[in-house]
Symmetry: C2
Subunit: 119 residues, 2 copies
DNA sequence: CTGGATCCCGGGCGATACTG
DNA sequence: CAGTATCGCCCGGGATCCAG
């Protein structure tokens, strides 16, 4: 597991929330997972779809997602190296969570999103 | 808004996911929100319920949550100062999201990813 | 094409001390 | 009780170069 900050024994409200957050949080994981929800992608494809992320970070985040068992990394032994990334079953199971996050964002942040006004 | 890393204009898959994550992410926000879901709490009560967090960070996170319109901060003019924190309507609307996160964690982490307990 | 290794900087975050 | 102010460490993460 990448980073579970505080002891996961203090399961006061929020423990599991934090535990799950620790998996999908991380600067680019949410975006990566969202992209992979649409299907398998190779490294260069992910890069192209995420202009803002550096190659270092992309590799980094992918490794963490892999370590957390959320994505599979398939290396094809070819002269031009090729690596495919796809969601594991566990990864796919996050769809509902990601959908919940996206849905809330669309409703409560939308396009203008009053950070405090709203009320 | 506390920290929306990349332009929220590049709404490729994951944009809203990240936007929402930016609000509830942040080391302690998930836990804070979870606690406040149970009702209004004053500063010291929150501290007591979250042994691991420093006073500085707690204040910090509470301020960000307030700036994002997720919680209300009520100051009572008393000799022993007293400040109550409670969820705004917007904050309460996160319940489903937090529930989704917690539920996923309980199912996909709680069962087999446990260090020793579990099984 | 994929990704490792290095250098380096800003800031996140903890510890501590002070205030109203 | 509920913060604010200051110092300092650590590391996340960008840029760059190298390798299979």
């Amino acid at each position: 597991m990448s980073k579970l900050r505080h002891s996961r024994l203090d399961c006061t409200p929020g423990c599991m929330v934090e535990a799950t957050l620790a998996l999908i949080d991380g600067k680019w994981k949410g975006v990566i997972l969202s992209h992979l929800l649409e299907g398998t992608l190779r490294f260069s494809e992910l890069r192209r779809r995420m202009p803002g992320v550096t190659q270092r970070m992309l590799t980094n985040q992918l490794r963490e997602l892999e370590a957390d068992g959320l994505i599979d990394r398939t290396i094809h032994a070819q002269v031009p190296p090729r690596v495919d990334y796809s969601l594991t079953e566990r990864g796919h199971s996050l769809r509902e969570v990601l959908d919940a996050l996206r849905l809330w964002g669309e409703i409560h942040i939308g396009l203008f999103a009053q950070p405090k006004a709203a009320a």
